[in-house]
Symmetry: C2
Subunit: 485 residues, 2 copies
């Protein structure tokens, strides 16, 4: 940290600013700051030149004091990278908790599993990642620069917590054209990724403890989490080849969370009949339906499926979208197409949660959409992902009968494959890992009973050749596993 | 939206892709999409050339159909800007709510006042805004580009929901040196602005309904909001010239929220004795203290004040910081320096709330700090803000005795000024608005009884000349108001 001399004065708690300091004074102050823990072990000290200039002492004074403290073990020097507060330089544990705080924390957060990234195989079918190498980074970078140049000093004024008007306009047009979702700019609430959409919906819709949220089983558990945290009770409904089993839904479910375009993880699209049944159920019970359309833009068989929201005539469907799959996840931009009765409170929850989403990213995305780059990128990626998907399907066809049969699906960036009932998916994946290929057991998406035995495979982040080789390796793993049975 | 032809196919629900369409087919499909509301009023239609190319028809076919629909009032053409779905083209109200949903929403969000931006006076002392014109945009833009070039295709992998390791390292160094806060990179949890820090803390610390949060009165109500939403009960404690009145705190308060460096809105720093008393109270009652250090970097009198966290020996103080004031608000980057007992659950709450904060902004900031730009900018702005503050103090000294006396303060981007007890601050501001100057009544920050009568004035976004003229106008307004009494 060059030139941070003015800052260290604070750490030293110098009474008079600008007074010349003798070597001893500086030594004692620095030593006490280190030993009291005010300068923490591992901290990089300012360069001697910068500190000297700022304190009004000679550089020689600073280097001498640094050397003295190094010889005492308070500081340590690493050649080429600077001077650091030495590990273990703080005597004893300065900060022991006086009281046990554990009972002061909400227990729910202790039970949340930290995301476990397994050791990745060379060809790992990671879920939830698009092809980052194919993203038009240079176009994006130019548009980001343009937005930044225009915004710069203006940023910070006239901000709408509901989202930038330009982006809401662009999303409404895109949704209407690409997904047949009827909506206007004023229906859109911009969120920091789809995950925040679920958090805001949970804050607004869980109006008393014990509100029942019905979910798909297997399903996407991160979306359930904010509802559980807000006090909701989860009710799991099975999924078959037509989507969520509507007859399994209880009348108590006030909220129903579904992924109708491309079920996560099975990949099946919800059939037209099932959609009608779900909406009829919602009308009969008054349930609110959350439609998570995370990657429905990528359809491969030319038969476009309407969004559930398009069929809804009673304002009971809340549509959640994201640009994490169509563009890239670090963008952290998602949105809710919210019925009118919901909107104002959703915006209030947004204000309380993080104020608003950065305008720079919003307006860059707005221009990217308005100038046709999103539609172009989605069209291009649809072809690329379609080829990968086909390579995956072709490769696993080499597996023995009853192994790796695909669940029906026509969209999205992942596929699910079946395993025989009596095969342990994790044991199978162990064999596959030996052949350099990785995937996820469907059991990882189990909410209650879970059901189907098999694997989920994302093909967004592997190129076609790797998808093909990975699929062939999976087929080989199936042959070996079958021989062992 | 040029070249979005592939998308409109979905809106048209075309059964066969690529089939040639006659004029009549296209007309009927578009008309039905508009009349059913699937293409919403106000939507911009694709350019005729782009749609024609995509559908495999002549451009003439598309323009003829567009013209026909325009003549029927389904579409409308605006010269130079394209063809749009006409307002009122959807017959009847397609979407009437079938059921009353109001009782399905948490009532708290209906009571949240939407942010009211008063009509701004030419010289308005806006609160919470730094000087955006003085920010080194060009340096920032270059570093953003560098980060984007390095990251690009890598972004999306190896992401830590606790925050980028580079940024946590940079924040820990900065805090240790600039604020005397002892912390290590592993203590830092990066948040999307300070507002999200309060939301995450509320999610973790409100472990049962009715947990008491003690707050300063007057105080910064947006920080209280997530706690109230999570079920906490607010207890207001008055603020005097030494900060929060510790004797007024009840033993029931499990959480105490304070702004010790620069009380919001009064601007007073918490005195050393009051700090000791607050920490002693916390140790005696087991309360958790949240220290909001939103603009403590900007000190003007050379007597640096330690952070409360530095004095804490029992891990009871949680330090919240932000870069909204030291850099710019749209950055949306803040952080928590969290005691060890809190950290894992705070990260869990972060994962559930929005997954993570965008890495691009995080790593750009990390480089900006590590290369000394933050320290340099803060040092420069400290001088600039110091001059503005002095200009404000000098100007209001022209007011009659008993009017516009400043509350003691030595830091930050705003000041509070007293008004006589019997003066209505809003009526005074009305007179001031007539003289082209605006400020905020302290009553806007009232939590319970509120106390002090006066004004809060932010001087971050006005240059020195405007601050001076604004202050003189306020003094003139005081003379006029005094004459009227």
């Amino acid at each position: 940290m060059p030139d941070s001399g003015s800052e260290i004065e604070v750490a030293l708690l110098t009474p008079e600013r600008g007074a010349r300091r003798t070597r001893r004074e500086l030594y004692e102050q620095l030593r006490s700051a280190v030993r009291s823990g005010r300068l923490a072990p591992g901290l990089r000290m300012p360069a001697s030149r910068a500190l000297a200039r700022r304190l009004g002492v000679s550089r020689n004074t600073v280097t001498t004091v640094y050397d003295l403290l190094i010889s005492e073990g308070c500081l340590s020097a690493r050649t080429g990278s600077g001077t650091f507060v030495a590990p273990g330089s703080t005597p004893g544990a300065r900060r022991a908790p006086a009281i046990d705080m554990t009972d002061r924390l909400r227990p729910i957060w202790s039970s949340l599993p930290r995301p476990v990234v397994p050791p990745l195989a060379p060809r790992h079918f990671l879920m939830g990642l698009p092809d980052l190498a194919s993203f038009p980074w240079e176009t994006w970078r130019k548009m980001l620069n343009r937005t930044l140049r225009v915004h710069g000093p203006e940023v910070g004024l006239n901000l709408d917590p509901q989202g930038s008007p330009a982006l809401r306009q662009a999303i409404a047009s895109h949704l209407s054209l690409a997904r047949g979702v009827a909506c206007r700019p004023e229906d859109i609430v911009v969120t920091s990724g789809a995950q925040q959409a679920f958090d805001l919906l949970a804050k607004v819709l869980v109006h008393r403890p014990g509100v029942v949220l019905a979910v798909e089983d297997p399903g996407y558990r991160p979306a359930h989490l904010p509802f559980v945290a807000a006090g909701a009770k989860i009710e799991a409904a099975p999924v078959d080849d037509e989507g969520i089993v509507v007859e399994a839904l209880s009348d108590d479910a006030e909220i129903i969370y579904v992924t109708p375009s491309h079920q996560l993880p099975l990949g099946v699209p919800m059939s037209p009949l099932r959609r009608e049944a779900l909406l009829a159920h919602a009308r009969a019970t008054g349930a609110i339906v959350i439609e998570d359309d995370y990657d429905g833009e990528f359809r491969f068989d030319g038969r476009p499926l309407e969004a559930l929201q398009t069929l809804d005539v009673s304002q009971q469907v809340i549509y959640v979208g994201t640009f994490s799959k169509s563009l890239y996840p670090d963008l952290r931009l998602g949105f809710v197409a919210a019925p009118e009765w919901l909107r104002a409170r959703l915006v209030s929850a947004k204000i309380a949660s993080d104020g608003r989403t950065p305008l720079l990213a919003q307006d860059t995305l707005a221009a990217f959409i308005a100038e046709g780059h999103l539609a172009r990128h989605v069209r291009r990626m649809r072809r690329i992902y379609g080829e990968r998907r086909q390579a995956l399907l072709d490769g696993v066809r080499e597996a023995p009968d009853g192994w790796l049969g695909p669940f029906p699906s026509a969209a999205g960036l992942h596929l699910a494959l079946r395993l025989p009932e009596d095969v342990d998916a994790r044991a199978f994946l162990h064999i596959a890992a030996g052949l350099g290929v990785g995937a996820f057991p469907l059991s990882q998406f189990k909410v209650d009973r879970g059901g189907q035995n098999g694997l989920a495979l994302g093909f967004g982040a592997l190129d076609k050749a790797d998808v093909r080789l990975g699929a062939l390796a999976l087929a080989e793993a199936a042959r070996r596993a079958a021989a062992e049975l």
